[in-house]
Amino acid sequence: MIAGFTQNLLDPAILFFVLGAFIGAIRSNLEIPPAIAKFLSIYLLMALGLKGGAELATKGLPAEGLLAILAAVLMATLVPAYSFLILRRRVDAYDAAAIAATYGSVSAVTFIASQQFLRNHGVEFGGYMTVAMVVMESPAIVMAVLLASYVRSKGGAGQSPAKAGPSGLPPLSMKHVLHEAFTDGAHLLLIGSLLVGFAVGEHGKTMMAPFTADIFKGLLALFLLEMGLMVGRQIFESKVRIDKSLIAFALLMPMVNATVALALAWLFDLSRGDATLLAALSASASYIVVPAIVRYAIPEARPGIYFTMSIAITFPFNILFGIPLYFAVTGMLWN
């Protein structure tokens, strides 16, 4: 297990993440222009979708793939449900719904880093896992919005997004929220790239290899440097203070979710690679799609809490320790 951790820490992309976090923590003036940072996230989503789609076209969707997708759907509904029940005792109901959505959804970069980790260890996984990732993005958002609507309906008089405002401002409708959730740019780009990859298949994959494969590792390292900078600054410069119980949640929940995911993967007889990816996906928390939609759909929740927990605690935990840990556990159970 120790060897797995060491090997993960010696991956150049992971080392750049650590470097970024250090540079951010010591308040250096290094900046990655926001436009480049956004370009990199677009690139990673495109490459991920294209590769997953092309692999699906080549290898098809076997029964194991369907089971993996079913396990992903189950995790995407279970995690927000039990997270909300746990959090409801500790925090405001709207914050609980927002955090449940954040942890019920997934982080594409954690997924990409897990794929990279498996490739480094020569462990195979199915292209359908990208589909599994896509289906895990939205259920948590819908559940959280429904939970927030329920809490509002119990709230009685007073202003609420569910009611028209005194000025005539229309109420926040479920139709609008669903539109935001399913037309989110990152989400659409990933689905679109997956479809393009599926349409062009192996031939297209070879044609796009200089873009999706040759420069992938370098651009991932650059993106992780930027993420490290952001994490370092969020931890050391942000004025947001997170309650100790929420810090514990952000550190423990990934392991709890990964354990449930591995139990499901074991039950469904998934391969070791697919099981590790399912665990990493379930352990990850969204910091792009969900915060963007929750800011709009659950305005009562505090973004400083759910965004900081996801980006500054859970993301680095998974990247540095979580992925090798889940992989090591599959090593014990699957061999």
Binding site: G165, M230, E237, A292
Partner: protein, 103 residues
């Protein structure tokens, strides 16, 4: 030189996710002219680094008359009451009016 026109400038600072909601709200009040600038910053919600789509701010500038400003402020107040994190800054400004159209 032509006389300066007295107007109000409304400056809104908001997360970029709320840009569309704000512009739709302005549009309902008949306001179709605005300037949007990407912005970074920090506040009660943490650091908005501008590096991700989910941690970017925008600054929206709108020049408008006082009666129209009051109706927009009512909408903004409703939005803030709902929990949306928006900063609204109002300034008196003087504007060199648009060149009159030639007949």
């Amino acid at each position: 030189m032509r006389a300066l026109e007295q107007k109000k400038m409304l400056t809104l600072i908001a997360p970029s996710e709320l840009q569309r909601l704000i512009l739709e709200t302005l549009s309902r009040r008949g306001i179709g002219g605005y300037t949007v600038v990407p912005a970074t910053g920090a506040g009660a919600s943490g650091i908005q680094s501008g590096m991700l789509f989910s941690d970017s701010n925008v600054v929206i500038y709108i020049i408008l008359s006082e009666p129209r400003l009051l109706s927009v402020l009512e909408d903004l107040d409703d939005m803030m009451q709902r929990g949306y994190r928006i900063k609204a800054i109002i300034q008196d400004i003087a504007l060199l009016p648009r060149k009159p159209e030639s007949r």
